[in-house]
């Protein structure tokens, strides 16, 4: 990440009047996400008469809800100036370990515990390599992404491991007409949104992401916070993996394959700044819905999956360009 500074830019904005409030509110990446979301809803409704059905959209969302949950934490990781590309592989490995354990006769609560601990350990491995050994997180997690899924493949082979009948189908359990995974996502969004927006922990995440050296000088325990984020990432990934196991009824090593792209896409589309320091949970929340609506709309209209790949690729690139543009417009 290049750090070519402007040569001695002398600033004189301090005398300028503050920006109008509407600009501060409207010119934000989240607005772009919201507008896209509305456009996507219109577009998808026009694309297929079968699309506009709240129940269907919710059901479809459950298919991405696990990724969306992880994307919320990923947003915080990216704001803190790091990235984690391994969560989807983490989901697969912790789900495999969980399924393996319960199949071996270990009681379900302990098996779940094993899955979660595995997730934490994977998060800790990432954290140690990034924080203690100072290797860039993007490279570390590309390595661990391959490793974690590879280990899952070694453990499970090509077999799928079944989970007991009663454990299956968390996505079919409704609360107030809303599938449980969607509820979990909503609750997580609110909680993490509050954490990021109103607590000192959240504040310090932004400060670390903006300038880690300055943050350390100001007494902010950046390493501890980052460690916490990577661990949270591991834990939430593992939980998401176990939820996926419940949704699918079985676990294979390729669970959540390629999910890292969707998660990064959600964060990016929501206006999280790839270089850290900026972004909101609200943005990622909106982006998760946007992504689901775009892909569901295309699938229900029988659009070639190839076109979907292209649209996702274009969306990713466009969203980063737009986010960069918006930030460079509003703040130097």
């Amino acid at each position: 990440m290049s750090a070519i500074e402007n040569p001695v830019v002398v600033s004189a904005r301090e005398a300028a009047p503050p920006r109008p409030l509407w600009q501060v509110i409207v010119i934000r990446p989240e607005t772009m996400t919201l507008v896209l979301l509305i456009l996507a809803l219109f577009g998808a409704s026009l694309l297929s008469p079968y699309f506009l059905d709240f129940g269907y959209i919710l059901r479809s969302f459950t298919l991405s809800a696990e990724f969306a949950m992880v994307a919320l934490v990923l947003t915080m990781v990216i704001i803190a100036g790091e990235i984690d590309l391994s969560p989807a592989a983490n989901m697969a490995l912790s789900a495999c370990l969980f399924a393996f354990a319960q199949q071996a006769g270990i009681p379900m609560p302990i098996a779940i515990g094993i899955g979660l601990v595995a997730g934490l350990v994977m998060g800790a491995i990432n954290a140690i390599m990034v924080i203690r050994l100072q290797i860039p997180s993007i490279i570390v997690t590309i390595g661990t992404l391959t490793l974690y899924r590879g280990i899952a493949q070694v453990i499970a082979g090509d077999k799928s491991i079944r989970v007991p009948e009663w454990f299956i189908g968390v996505n079919n359990v409704l609360m107030a007409g809303i599938p449980v995974p969607v509820i979990i996502f909503l609750v997580m969004s609110i909680v993490l949104g509050l954490v990021l927006g109103t607590t000192i922990f959240g504040r310090q995440i932004y400060q670390i992401g903006t300038n880690e050296v300055a943050a350390r000088h100001a007494g902010i325990r950046s390493q501890r916070i980052k460690m916490g984020l990577f661990l949270l990432m591991g834990l939430v990934s593992a939980a998401a993996g176990i939820l996926t196991a419940s949704r699918l009824g079985s676990v294979r090593y390729d669970l959540g394959l390629g999910g890292e792209l969707q998660m990064v896409l959600m964060a990016m589309l929501g206006g999280t700044y790839i270089f850290g320091g900026r972004g909101t949970i609200l943005g990622t929340f909106l982006a998760a819905w946007l992504l689901v609506i775009v892909s569901t709309g295309m699938t229900v209209a029988n659009v070639l999956p190839a076109v979907q790949l292209v649209v996702l690729g274009v969306l990713l690139v466009v969203s980063i360009i737009a986010t960069n543009a918006i930030y460079s417009r509003t703040q130097r």
Binding site: M1, S2, A3, I4, M129, L133, Q134, I135, P136, I138, I139, V140, I142, G143, T144, L145, T146, L147, Y148, R149, G150, I151, Q153, V154, G157, D158, Y253, L261, V264, M268, I274, F275, L304, P305, A306, V307, Q308, L309, V310, V311, L312, G313, V314, L316, V317, I320, I321, N324
Partner: protein, 328 residues
């Protein structure tokens, strides 16, 4: 004399030693691993990775990374395959130009996105990885190019040999290695790539056209992916919209990182990269021979990448230590 350079010398020697030890260990269990025949198998496993690794090495030396090479490989192979299928009257070597040209164009697009919008290459190429794969489906209408459409002269490049029973495709890959060596060591722009990766902020002050050099490395990476694309058709005899080239990036990045190319830019040698590729080839050839299931391959790649990162870091730290010693 010079600590750092000695370490890098040792680094390459280290990989060579690892290869030898690995081969001896496998040979102890399976003596047939130490035959010329198995050398041929290993070499036939590596040409595509070797070619991809040369491009990736340049990109990483310039402090970027290209994750889209597998999709570029797939797309250029597909378009070339479609040319073979629908225009069989075209002289088949033209396919090389088409494939390389298309790869170069895709690589150039990566470069443009990276330079024009100042986006991190890893995110850009993560996006184009999907974009190009999707385009491959679209242009091919999701149809495979079957064996019968791939010119037999092209296919026989992976089998027939100009000399010593070594197929053409292996010569091509080593030829690319030599060309890359000449390029990075003996051309001005080759050195500029290293300078850019070594100190990107200072590079423009020394007249290095940063954007142009960046475009160039991505274009080369694309062009070499394109070359790997047509050689894929030669090696495997078909082009499939979803299989062809998928996962290529991980093999290549693993080879490059093992070969001692530093993810911090500015450091890397062709010899190291070639050795990294060969080590991967040895592992890939040995696994089935030892009866180890193919499912372990991904875990081994992952572990190998991480180990290489740790070695890279250790080397870097020693470099820093030697620097502070020099200052003290």
């Amino acid at each position: 004399m010079n600590l750092l350079r000695n370490i890098f010398l040792r680094r390459e020697a280290g990989i060579a030693v690892m290869i030898v030890l690995f081969c001896i260990a496998v040979g102890a269990v399976k003596p047939q691993f130490l035959t010329l025949d198995s050398l041929r198998i290993i070499l036939l496993l590596t040409p595509l990775i070797m070619i991809g690794a040369m491009g990736q090495m340049l990109v990483i030396v310039a402090r970027h990374v290209d994750l889209s090479i597998g999709s570029m490989l797939g797309f250029s192979a597909m378009v070339t395959g479609m040319m073979f299928k629908f225009y069989p009257e075209i002289w088949w070597p033209v396919g090389f130009l088409v494939s390389i040209g298309i790869g170069a164009a895709l690589g150039l697009l990566n470069g443009v996105l990276v330079t024009l919008f100042r986006l991190p290459a890893i995110i850009v190429t993560l996006g184009t990885l999907n974009l190009y794969r999707g385009l491959t489906y679209i242009v091919s209408n999701a149809k495979q190019i079957d064996r019968q459409f791939v010119p037999s002269a092209l296919k026989s490049m992976s089998q027939t040999s100009p000399i010593f029973g070594i197929p053409w495709i292996i010569f091509i890959s080593f030829g690319i290695g030599l060309l890359t060596y000449g390029f990075v060591m003996h051309t001005r722009v080759g050195r500029q790539i290293f300078a850019l990766g070594s100190n990107p902020i200072a590079a423009p002050l020394r007249g290095i056209a940063v954007n142009k050099v960046t475009l160039l490395v991505f274009t080369i990476s694309g062009a070499l992916s394109g070359l790997a694309g047509i050689l894929y058709a030669s090696r495997w005899g078909f082009v499939n919209p979803s299989n062809t080239g998928s996962g290529f990036e991980f093999q290549v990045i693993a080879a490059v990182v093992i070969g001692g190319v530093s993810i911090n830019g500015g450091v890397g040698t062709v010899l190291g990269t070639v050795l990294g590729v060969l080590l991967l080839g040895c592992v890939a050839a040995a696994l089935p021979l030892l009866g180890i299931p193919g499912t372990t391959q991904s875990a081994i790649y992952g572990a190998v990448i991480l180990i290489a990162l740790l070695i890279d870091r250790t080397v870097r730290q020693q470099g820093i230590a030697s620097l502070s010693r020099a200052r003290a």
